[in-house]
Amino acid sequence: MALLTLSGIRVRYGRVEVLHGIDLRVDEGEIVTILGANGAGKSTTLLSISGLVRPFAGEMLFDGKPLLKVPSHEVVGLGIAQSPEGRRVFGAMTVLENLRLGAFCIRDAARSERTLEWIFDLFPRLLERKEQLAGTLSGGEQQMLAIGRALMAEPRLLLLDEPSLGLAPLLVRSIFETVRAINERGVTVLLVEQNARAALRLATRGYVLEVGRVVMEDRAEALLANASIREAYLGG
Protein backbone atom coordinates (compact mmCIF):
# COMPACT_ATOMS: atom_id res chain seq x y z
CA MET A 1 0.00 0.00 0.00
CA ALA A 2 1.63 3.24 -1.14
CA LEU A 3 1.79 5.84 1.60
CA LEU A 4 3.50 8.47 -0.51
CA THR A 5 3.83 8.77 -4.27
CA LEU A 6 5.60 11.43 -6.27
CA SER A 7 5.07 11.49 -10.00
CA GLY A 8 6.78 13.83 -12.42
CA ILE A 9 7.77 16.32 -9.71
CA ARG A 10 9.63 19.25 -11.23
CA VAL A 11 11.13 22.12 -9.22
CA ARG A 12 12.81 25.36 -10.27
CA TYR A 13 14.97 27.65 -8.18
CA GLY A 14 14.59 30.92 -10.02
CA ARG A 15 15.20 29.98 -13.64
CA VAL A 16 17.25 26.88 -12.94
CA GLU A 17 15.34 23.63 -13.00
CA VAL A 18 16.74 21.34 -10.29
CA LEU A 19 14.26 18.46 -10.35
CA HIS A 20 13.34 17.23 -13.81
CA GLY A 21 10.46 14.93 -12.98
CA ILE A 22 10.93 12.76 -9.91
CA ASP A 23 8.92 9.54 -9.62
CA LEU A 24 9.09 7.90 -6.24
CA ARG A 25 6.98 5.66 -4.03
CA VAL A 26 7.14 4.88 -0.33
CA ASP A 27 5.01 2.06 1.02
CA GLU A 28 3.63 1.94 4.52
CA GLY A 29 6.18 0.50 6.98
CA GLU A 30 9.17 0.77 4.66
CA ILE A 31 12.53 2.45 5.03
CA VAL A 32 13.30 3.95 1.63
CA THR A 33 16.56 5.71 0.94
CA ILE A 34 17.46 8.31 -1.65
CA LEU A 35 21.12 8.24 -2.66
CA GLY A 36 23.05 10.66 -4.78
CA ALA A 37 25.90 13.13 -4.93
CA ASN A 38 25.78 16.72 -3.71
CA GLY A 39 23.39 18.75 -5.81
CA ALA A 40 21.50 15.74 -7.15
CA GLY A 41 18.26 17.14 -5.72
CA LYS A 42 17.80 14.90 -2.67
CA SER A 43 17.12 17.68 -0.17
CA THR A 44 14.95 19.56 -2.64
CA THR A 45 12.84 16.42 -3.01
CA LEU A 46 12.31 16.25 0.76
CA LEU A 47 11.58 19.97 1.01
CA SER A 48 8.99 19.67 -1.73
CA ILE A 49 7.25 16.89 0.21
CA SER A 50 7.09 19.13 3.29
CA GLY A 51 5.84 22.01 1.15
CA LEU A 52 8.78 24.32 1.79
CA VAL A 53 9.58 24.19 -1.91
CA ARG A 54 6.75 24.30 -4.43
CA PRO A 55 7.00 22.11 -7.57
CA PHE A 56 5.71 23.73 -10.76
CA ALA A 57 4.68 20.40 -12.25
CA GLY A 58 3.90 16.89 -11.13
CA GLU A 59 1.67 15.19 -8.62
CA MET A 60 2.09 14.08 -5.05
CA LEU A 61 -0.22 11.84 -3.07
CA PHE A 62 -0.04 11.09 0.64
CA ASP A 63 -2.31 8.35 1.85
CA GLY A 64 -4.23 8.68 -1.39
CA LYS A 65 -4.87 12.41 -1.02
CA PRO A 66 -3.24 15.19 -3.08
CA LEU A 67 -0.48 16.92 -1.13
CA LEU A 68 0.68 19.76 -3.37
CA LYS A 69 -2.17 22.13 -2.54
CA VAL A 70 -1.76 21.71 1.21
CA PRO A 71 -0.18 24.80 2.91
CA SER A 72 3.26 23.91 4.21
CA HIS A 73 2.36 24.42 7.87
CA GLU A 74 -0.46 21.88 7.53
CA VAL A 75 1.67 19.10 6.05
CA VAL A 76 3.06 18.03 9.41
CA GLY A 77 -0.47 17.73 10.78
CA LEU A 78 -1.25 15.18 8.08
CA GLY A 79 1.52 12.95 9.44
CA ILE A 80 4.70 13.97 7.57
CA ALA A 81 7.52 15.27 9.77
CA GLN A 82 11.02 16.18 8.67
CA SER A 83 14.42 16.34 10.28
CA PRO A 84 15.91 18.79 7.78
CA GLU A 85 19.33 19.18 6.24
CA GLY A 86 21.66 20.91 8.67
CA ARG A 87 19.36 19.93 11.59
CA ARG A 88 17.98 23.48 11.97
CA VAL A 89 17.30 23.14 15.68
CA PHE A 90 16.22 26.35 17.43
CA GLY A 91 19.59 27.21 18.94
CA ALA A 92 18.46 29.91 21.36
CA MET A 93 15.82 27.62 22.86
CA THR A 94 16.23 24.71 25.26
CA VAL A 95 16.16 21.07 24.21
CA LEU A 96 12.77 20.66 25.88
CA GLU A 97 11.35 23.75 24.18
CA ASN A 98 12.54 22.41 20.83
CA LEU A 99 10.84 19.09 21.47
CA ARG A 100 7.61 20.73 22.56
CA LEU A 101 7.59 22.82 19.38
CA GLY A 102 7.84 19.56 17.47
CA ALA A 103 4.44 18.71 18.92
CA PHE A 104 2.98 22.10 17.94
CA CYS A 105 0.33 20.42 15.78
CA ILE A 106 -0.67 17.89 18.47
CA ARG A 107 -3.64 18.92 20.60
CA ASP A 108 -3.51 16.02 23.03
CA ALA A 109 -1.03 17.05 25.74
CA ALA A 110 -1.13 13.73 27.59
CA ARG A 111 -0.25 11.82 24.44
CA SER A 112 2.61 14.25 23.75
CA GLU A 113 4.02 13.51 27.20
CA ARG A 114 4.14 9.80 26.33
CA THR A 115 5.82 10.56 23.00
CA LEU A 116 8.32 12.69 24.89
CA GLU A 117 9.13 9.78 27.22
CA TRP A 118 9.64 7.52 24.23
CA ILE A 119 12.03 10.05 22.67
CA PHE A 120 13.99 10.29 25.93
CA ASP A 121 14.19 6.46 25.86
CA LEU A 122 15.55 6.56 22.33
CA PHE A 123 17.98 9.39 23.11
CA PRO A 124 18.88 9.44 26.82
CA ARG A 125 21.36 12.23 26.04
CA LEU A 126 18.47 14.56 25.33
CA LEU A 127 16.98 13.84 28.74
CA GLU A 128 20.29 14.70 30.42
CA ARG A 129 20.45 17.95 28.50
CA LYS A 130 16.81 18.94 28.37
CA GLU A 131 17.31 22.35 30.00
CA GLN A 132 20.37 23.17 27.91
CA LEU A 133 20.18 25.54 24.94
CA ALA A 134 20.06 23.55 21.71
CA GLY A 135 22.79 25.72 20.18
CA THR A 136 25.27 24.50 22.80
CA LEU A 137 24.79 20.79 21.94
CA SER A 138 27.36 18.80 19.97
CA GLY A 139 26.61 17.95 16.34
CA GLY A 140 25.48 14.44 17.22
CA GLU A 141 23.22 15.66 19.98
CA GLN A 142 21.70 18.27 17.68
CA GLN A 143 20.98 15.49 15.20
CA MET A 144 19.25 13.48 17.92
CA LEU A 145 17.25 16.58 18.81
CA ALA A 146 16.23 17.19 15.21
CA ILE A 147 15.02 13.60 14.88
CA GLY A 148 13.31 13.71 18.28
CA ARG A 149 11.63 17.01 17.42
CA ALA A 150 10.27 15.51 14.20
CA LEU A 151 9.00 12.45 16.11
CA MET A 152 7.10 14.69 18.54
CA ALA A 153 4.67 15.37 15.68
CA GLU A 154 3.77 11.63 15.79
CA PRO A 155 4.38 11.23 12.07
CA ARG A 156 3.36 8.29 9.93
CA LEU A 157 6.14 9.28 7.55
CA LEU A 158 9.49 10.54 8.83
CA LEU A 159 11.73 12.39 6.38
CA LEU A 160 15.39 12.30 7.40
CA ASP A 161 17.89 14.47 5.55
CA GLU A 162 21.49 13.27 6.02
CA PRO A 163 21.32 12.31 9.67
CA SER A 164 24.93 11.01 9.53
CA LEU A 165 26.49 14.21 8.17
CA GLY A 166 29.53 15.30 10.16
CA LEU A 167 29.15 12.62 12.83
CA ALA A 168 31.79 10.23 14.13
CA PRO A 169 31.42 6.65 12.75
CA LEU A 170 30.36 5.21 16.10
CA LEU A 171 27.63 7.81 16.44
CA VAL A 172 26.49 7.19 12.87
CA ARG A 173 25.95 3.53 13.71
CA SER A 174 23.95 4.40 16.79
CA ILE A 175 21.78 6.91 14.89
CA PHE A 176 21.05 4.32 12.21
CA GLU A 177 20.14 1.75 14.84
CA THR A 178 17.74 4.28 16.32
CA VAL A 179 16.19 4.86 12.91
CA ARG A 180 15.55 1.12 12.73
CA ALA A 181 13.95 1.19 16.18
CA ILE A 182 11.73 4.08 15.10
CA ASN A 183 10.69 2.16 12.00
CA GLU A 184 9.89 -0.89 14.12
CA ARG A 185 7.42 1.26 16.01
CA GLY A 186 5.48 1.61 12.76
CA VAL A 187 6.89 4.85 11.41
CA THR A 188 7.64 4.79 7.70
CA VAL A 189 11.00 6.40 6.89
CA LEU A 190 12.29 8.22 3.82
CA LEU A 191 16.02 8.66 4.31
CA VAL A 192 18.32 10.89 2.27
CA GLU A 193 21.95 9.87 2.68
CA GLN A 194 25.43 10.26 1.31
CA ASN A 195 26.61 7.38 3.45
CA ALA A 196 25.22 4.93 0.90
CA ARG A 197 26.46 1.69 2.42
CA ALA A 198 24.93 2.30 5.84
CA ALA A 199 21.71 3.61 4.29
CA LEU A 200 21.30 0.57 2.02
CA ARG A 201 21.92 -1.86 4.90
CA LEU A 202 19.06 -0.20 6.75
CA ALA A 203 16.64 0.36 3.89
CA THR A 204 14.20 -1.92 2.13
CA ARG A 205 14.44 -0.05 -1.16
CA GLY A 206 16.52 2.72 -2.64
CA TYR A 207 16.46 5.37 -5.33
CA VAL A 208 19.54 6.89 -6.95
CA LEU A 209 19.31 10.52 -8.01
CA GLU A 210 21.62 12.18 -10.50
CA VAL A 211 21.24 15.87 -11.38
CA GLY A 212 17.55 16.01 -10.66
CA ARG A 213 16.51 12.64 -12.12
CA VAL A 214 15.92 9.17 -10.74
CA VAL A 215 18.48 7.03 -12.58
CA MET A 216 17.96 3.79 -10.68
CA GLU A 217 15.51 2.21 -8.30
CA ASP A 218 15.69 -1.22 -6.74
CA ARG A 219 15.59 -3.25 -3.56
CA ALA A 220 18.37 -2.30 -1.20
CA GLU A 221 20.25 -5.63 -1.44
CA ALA A 222 20.21 -5.41 -5.21
CA LEU A 223 21.60 -1.87 -5.12
CA LEU A 224 24.30 -2.95 -2.67
CA ALA A 225 25.34 -5.67 -5.11
CA ASN A 226 25.08 -3.50 -8.21
CA ALA A 227 28.46 -2.93 -9.84
CA SER A 228 27.91 0.64 -10.99
CA ILE A 229 26.51 1.65 -7.60
CA ARG A 230 29.47 0.05 -5.87
CA GLU A 231 31.78 2.08 -8.03
CA ALA A 232 29.99 5.42 -7.78
CA TYR A 233 28.71 5.46 -4.19
CA LEU A 234 30.29 2.67 -2.20
CA GLY A 235 33.94 3.31 -2.96
CA GLY A 236 34.46 0.35 -5.33
Binding site: S50, L52, H73, V75, A92, R100, L101, F104
Partner: protein
Protein backbone atom coordinates in the same frame (compact mmCIF):
# COMPACT_ATOMS: atom_id res chain seq x y z
CA UNK B 1 21.21 61.77 46.74
CA UNK B 2 17.61 62.89 46.56
CA UNK B 3 18.20 64.52 43.19
CA UNK B 4 19.83 61.33 41.99
CA UNK B 5 16.89 59.15 43.03
CA UNK B 6 14.39 61.58 41.60
CA UNK B 7 16.20 61.57 38.29
CA UNK B 8 16.38 57.78 38.26
CA UNK B 9 12.62 57.54 38.81
CA UNK B 10 12.12 60.16 36.14
CA UNK B 11 14.31 58.15 33.81
CA UNK B 12 12.50 54.91 34.58
CA UNK B 13 9.18 56.52 33.64
CA UNK B 14 10.32 57.81 30.28
CA UNK B 15 12.49 54.72 29.82
CA UNK B 16 9.49 52.46 30.36
CA UNK B 17 7.75 54.31 27.54
CA UNK B 18 10.83 53.94 25.31
CA UNK B 19 10.92 50.25 26.17
CA UNK B 20 7.26 49.67 25.22
CA UNK B 21 7.82 51.34 21.86
CA UNK B 22 11.17 49.58 21.39
CA UNK B 23 9.45 46.19 21.83
CA UNK B 24 7.42 46.87 18.69
CA UNK B 25 10.55 47.59 16.66
CA UNK B 26 12.42 44.62 17.99
CA UNK B 27 9.63 42.04 17.67
CA UNK B 28 8.88 43.01 14.08
CA UNK B 29 12.59 42.95 13.32
CA UNK B 30 12.77 39.53 14.94
CA UNK B 31 10.22 37.87 12.67
CA UNK B 32 10.58 39.91 9.46
CA UNK B 33 14.11 41.38 9.66
CA UNK B 34 12.45 44.67 8.82
CA UNK B 35 12.56 48.00 10.64
CA UNK B 36 8.94 49.13 10.78
CA UNK B 37 9.52 52.86 10.33
CA UNK B 38 5.81 53.51 10.73
CA UNK B 39 5.92 52.22 14.30
CA UNK B 40 6.60 55.65 15.81
CA UNK B 41 3.53 56.98 14.03
CA UNK B 42 1.38 54.20 15.45
CA UNK B 43 2.54 55.50 18.83
CA UNK B 44 1.36 59.00 17.82
CA UNK B 45 -1.98 57.58 16.74
CA UNK B 46 -2.29 55.99 20.18
CA UNK B 47 -1.80 59.37 21.84
CA UNK B 48 -4.42 61.07 19.63
CA UNK B 49 -6.93 58.25 19.83
CA UNK B 50 -6.59 58.33 23.59
CA UNK B 51 -7.31 62.05 23.69
CA UNK B 52 -10.31 61.69 21.39
CA UNK B 53 -11.81 58.85 23.37
CA UNK B 54 -11.27 60.59 26.69
CA UNK B 55 -12.44 64.06 25.74
CA UNK B 56 -14.65 64.02 22.65
CA UNK B 57 -16.48 60.87 23.60
CA UNK B 58 -16.59 62.20 27.15
CA UNK B 59 -15.77 58.81 28.58
CA UNK B 60 -14.53 60.55 31.68
CA UNK B 61 -18.03 61.98 32.09
CA UNK B 62 -19.55 58.52 32.04
CA UNK B 63 -17.07 56.75 34.29
CA UNK B 64 -14.94 57.79 37.25
CA UNK B 65 -11.66 59.18 35.93
CA UNK B 66 -9.35 56.28 36.83
CA UNK B 67 -11.76 53.76 35.32
CA UNK B 68 -12.21 55.87 32.19
CA UNK B 69 -8.44 56.10 31.76
CA UNK B 70 -8.09 52.36 32.21
CA UNK B 71 -10.88 51.64 29.71
CA UNK B 72 -9.34 54.03 27.18
CA UNK B 73 -5.95 52.46 27.77
CA UNK B 74 -7.32 49.07 26.72
CA UNK B 75 -9.35 50.48 23.82
CA UNK B 76 -6.37 52.41 22.46
CA UNK B 77 -4.14 49.34 22.65
CA UNK B 78 -6.74 47.27 20.76
CA UNK B 79 -7.42 49.92 18.11
CA UNK B 80 -3.75 50.60 17.42
CA UNK B 81 -3.15 46.83 17.34
CA UNK B 82 -5.79 46.63 14.62
CA UNK B 83 -4.12 49.44 12.66
CA UNK B 84 -0.80 47.61 12.96
CA UNK B 85 -2.41 44.42 11.70
CA UNK B 86 -3.86 46.25 8.67
CA UNK B 87 -0.53 48.00 8.06
CA UNK B 88 1.24 44.65 7.72
CA UNK B 89 -1.46 43.33 5.38
CA UNK B 90 -1.43 46.40 3.16
CA UNK B 91 2.17 47.57 3.18
CA UNK B 92 4.41 44.62 4.04
CA UNK B 93 2.80 41.30 3.15
CA UNK B 94 2.53 42.01 -0.59
CA UNK B 95 6.27 42.76 -0.56
CA UNK B 96 7.30 39.73 1.51
CA UNK B 97 9.17 38.12 -1.36
CA UNK B 98 10.40 41.32 -2.95
CA UNK B 99 13.79 42.73 -1.98
CA UNK B 100 14.35 44.05 1.50
CA UNK B 101 14.76 47.58 0.20
CA UNK B 102 11.20 47.55 -1.20
CA UNK B 103 9.81 46.84 2.26
CA UNK B 104 11.93 49.62 3.79
CA UNK B 105 10.60 52.11 1.23
CA UNK B 106 7.09 50.87 1.95
CA UNK B 107 7.69 51.38 5.69
CA UNK B 108 8.89 54.94 5.14
CA UNK B 109 5.87 55.59 2.95
CA UNK B 110 3.52 54.23 5.61
CA UNK B 111 5.19 56.49 8.18
CA UNK B 112 4.65 59.58 6.05
CA UNK B 113 1.08 58.50 5.37
CA UNK B 114 0.22 58.10 9.05
CA UNK B 115 1.95 61.30 10.14
CA UNK B 116 0.11 63.33 7.49
CA UNK B 117 -3.17 61.62 8.20
CA UNK B 118 -2.92 62.65 11.86
CA UNK B 119 -1.96 66.18 10.86
CA UNK B 120 -4.86 66.52 8.42
CA UNK B 121 -7.39 65.03 10.80
CA UNK B 122 -6.35 66.93 13.91
CA UNK B 123 -4.46 69.93 12.57
CA UNK B 124 -0.81 70.80 12.98
CA UNK B 125 -1.04 72.20 16.48
CA UNK B 126 -0.07 70.91 19.88
CA UNK B 127 -2.85 69.21 21.82
CA UNK B 128 -3.11 69.24 25.58
CA UNK B 129 -4.49 66.38 27.65
CA UNK B 130 -6.87 67.88 30.21
CA UNK B 131 -5.31 68.29 33.65
CA UNK B 132 -8.03 66.47 35.54
CA UNK B 133 -7.05 63.22 33.82
CA UNK B 134 -3.72 63.32 35.50
CA UNK B 135 -3.54 61.59 38.86
CA UNK B 136 -2.44 64.42 41.16
CA UNK B 137 -1.51 62.55 44.34
CA UNK B 138 2.07 62.38 45.56
CA UNK B 139 3.75 59.47 47.26
CA UNK B 140 6.25 59.78 50.04
CA UNK B 141 9.12 57.49 49.16
CA UNK B 142 12.60 57.34 50.75
CA UNK B 143 12.02 60.78 52.17
CA UNK B 144 11.08 62.25 48.81
CA UNK B 145 7.81 63.44 47.37
CA UNK B 146 7.24 61.55 44.15
CA UNK B 147 4.38 62.43 41.79
CA UNK B 148 1.92 59.54 41.71
CA UNK B 149 1.60 59.70 37.93
CA UNK B 150 5.28 58.92 37.60
CA UNK B 151 4.95 55.78 39.69
CA UNK B 152 1.83 54.76 37.77
CA UNK B 153 3.62 55.13 34.44
CA UNK B 154 6.53 53.04 35.73
CA UNK B 155 4.17 50.41 37.14
CA UNK B 156 2.08 50.23 33.96
CA UNK B 157 5.05 49.82 31.66
CA UNK B 158 6.68 47.23 33.90
CA UNK B 159 3.45 45.27 34.16
CA UNK B 160 3.02 45.26 30.39
CA UNK B 161 6.61 44.13 29.95
CA UNK B 162 6.27 41.33 32.50
CA UNK B 163 3.05 40.22 30.83
CA UNK B 164 4.70 40.12 27.44
CA UNK B 165 7.70 38.30 28.87
CA UNK B 166 5.51 35.64 30.43
CA UNK B 167 3.56 35.25 27.18
CA UNK B 168 6.70 34.88 25.07
CA UNK B 169 8.48 32.53 27.48
CA UNK B 170 5.71 30.44 28.95
CA UNK B 171 3.10 29.86 26.28
CA UNK B 172 3.00 27.66 23.22
CA UNK B 173 2.26 30.61 20.94
CA UNK B 174 5.08 32.59 22.55
CA UNK B 175 7.47 29.75 21.76
CA UNK B 176 6.17 29.76 18.19
CA UNK B 177 6.97 33.49 17.91
CA UNK B 178 10.52 32.81 19.10
CA UNK B 179 10.85 29.89 16.68
CA UNK B 180 9.74 32.01 13.72
CA UNK B 181 12.28 34.67 14.71
CA UNK B 182 15.06 32.05 14.74
CA UNK B 183 14.21 30.09 11.57
CA UNK B 184 10.88 30.60 9.77
CA UNK B 185 11.43 27.58 7.51
CA UNK B 186 12.07 25.22 10.41
CA UNK B 187 9.09 26.76 12.21
CA UNK B 188 6.92 25.83 9.24
CA UNK B 189 8.17 22.26 9.49
CA UNK B 190 6.78 22.27 13.05
CA UNK B 191 3.37 23.17 11.66
CA UNK B 192 3.55 26.81 12.70
CA UNK B 193 1.62 29.18 10.42
CA UNK B 194 4.28 31.83 9.90
CA UNK B 195 1.87 34.35 8.36
CA UNK B 196 -0.34 34.14 11.40
CA UNK B 197 2.60 34.63 13.76
CA UNK B 198 3.66 37.72 11.80
CA UNK B 199 0.12 39.09 12.07
CA UNK B 200 0.17 38.43 15.80
CA UNK B 201 3.44 40.31 16.18
CA UNK B 202 1.87 43.22 14.29
CA UNK B 203 -0.96 43.18 16.81
CA UNK B 204 1.22 43.02 19.93
CA UNK B 205 3.90 45.56 18.95
CA UNK B 206 1.55 48.33 17.82
CA UNK B 207 -0.78 47.57 20.74
CA UNK B 208 2.03 48.25 23.20
CA UNK B 209 3.19 51.27 21.17
CA UNK B 210 -0.30 52.77 21.12
CA UNK B 211 -0.64 52.28 24.87
CA UNK B 212 2.71 54.06 25.29
CA UNK B 213 1.39 56.99 23.25
CA UNK B 214 -1.52 57.39 25.64
CA UNK B 215 0.86 57.17 28.60
CA UNK B 216 2.93 60.04 27.19
CA UNK B 217 -0.22 62.11 26.81
CA UNK B 218 -1.21 61.56 30.42
CA UNK B 219 2.31 61.88 31.82
CA UNK B 220 3.53 64.96 29.94
CA UNK B 221 0.13 66.39 29.07
CA UNK B 222 1.16 67.45 25.57
CA UNK B 223 1.08 65.70 22.22
CA UNK B 224 1.73 66.70 18.62
CA UNK B 225 1.72 64.90 15.30
CA UNK B 226 5.53 64.69 15.04
CA UNK B 227 6.00 63.07 18.45
CA UNK B 228 6.26 59.65 16.80
CA UNK B 229 9.43 60.74 15.13
CA UNK B 230 11.34 61.79 18.24
CA UNK B 231 10.04 58.99 20.46
CA UNK B 232 10.37 56.51 17.63
CA UNK B 233 14.00 57.41 17.11
CA UNK B 234 14.72 57.07 20.83
CA UNK B 235 12.89 53.77 21.06
CA UNK B 236 14.67 52.49 17.97
CA UNK B 237 17.94 53.51 19.62
CA UNK B 238 16.88 51.62 22.74
CA UNK B 239 16.15 48.51 20.65
CA UNK B 240 19.62 48.70 19.05
CA UNK B 241 21.19 49.40 22.43
CA UNK B 242 19.70 46.22 23.89
CA UNK B 243 20.31 44.17 20.74
CA UNK B 244 17.77 44.39 17.92
CA UNK B 245 15.49 41.36 17.70
CA UNK B 246 16.00 40.63 21.39
CA UNK B 247 12.92 41.18 23.58
CA UNK B 248 14.58 41.54 27.02
CA UNK B 249 17.18 43.66 25.22
CA UNK B 250 14.53 46.16 24.16
CA UNK B 251 13.19 46.36 27.72
CA UNK B 252 16.66 46.86 29.19
CA UNK B 253 17.71 49.25 26.43
CA UNK B 254 14.62 51.42 26.91
CA UNK B 255 14.96 51.69 30.68
CA UNK B 256 18.70 52.31 30.43
CA UNK B 257 18.32 55.01 27.81
CA UNK B 258 15.64 56.74 29.88
CA UNK B 259 17.78 56.74 33.01
CA UNK B 260 20.91 57.93 31.18
CA UNK B 261 18.94 60.76 29.63
CA UNK B 262 17.41 61.80 32.92
CA UNK B 263 20.78 61.76 34.70
CA UNK B 264 22.36 63.76 31.87
CA UNK B 265 19.53 66.27 32.07
CA UNK B 266 19.85 66.52 35.84
CA UNK B 267 23.62 66.68 36.22
CA UNK B 268 24.88 68.16 32.96
CA UNK B 269 22.26 70.12 31.10
CA UNK B 270 18.82 69.42 29.70
CA UNK B 271 19.93 70.61 26.28
CA UNK B 272 22.59 67.90 26.21
CA UNK B 273 20.39 64.93 27.10
CA UNK B 274 19.83 63.72 23.52
CA UNK B 275 23.47 64.16 22.58
CA UNK B 276 24.55 62.18 25.62
CA UNK B 277 21.99 59.44 24.98
CA UNK B 278 23.30 58.94 21.47
CA UNK B 279 26.89 59.16 22.65
CA UNK B 280 26.17 56.25 24.97
CA UNK B 281 24.65 54.34 22.06
CA UNK B 282 27.77 54.91 19.97
CA UNK B 283 30.05 53.85 22.83
CA UNK B 284 28.10 50.67 23.50
CA UNK B 285 28.02 49.78 19.83
CA UNK B 286 31.78 50.25 19.61
CA UNK B 287 32.30 47.88 22.53
CA UNK B 288 29.47 45.49 21.65
CA UNK B 289 28.32 45.90 18.04
CA UNK B 290 25.40 43.51 18.61
CA UNK B 291 23.96 45.53 21.51
CA UNK B 292 24.00 44.64 25.18
CA UNK B 293 22.03 41.38 24.92
CA UNK B 294 22.29 40.76 21.19
CA UNK B 295 23.95 37.55 20.11
CA UNK B 296 23.99 37.61 16.38
CA UNK B 297 26.01 39.98 14.25
CA UNK B 298 24.54 43.28 13.24
CA UNK B 299 25.22 42.68 9.55
CA UNK B 300 21.51 42.26 8.84
CA UNK B 301 20.94 45.97 9.30
Amino acid sequence: MEQFLQQVLNGLAVGGIYALVALGYTMVYGVLKLINFAHGDLFTIGAYLGLTLLVSCNLSGLLPVPLAVLAVFIMVALLVALIGFLLERAAYRPLRHAGRLSAVVSALGASIFFQNAVMLLYGARVYVYPDFLRPDFTVHLFGMNVPGVRLLVIAASIMLMLGLWAFIQRTRIGAAIRAVAIDPGAAQLMGINVDRIISLVFLIGPGLGGAAGLMVGIYYGQIDFTMGWSYGLKAFTAAILGGIGNIPGAMLGGLLLGVIEALAAGYIAIAWKDAIAFLVLILILIIRPTGILGERTADKL
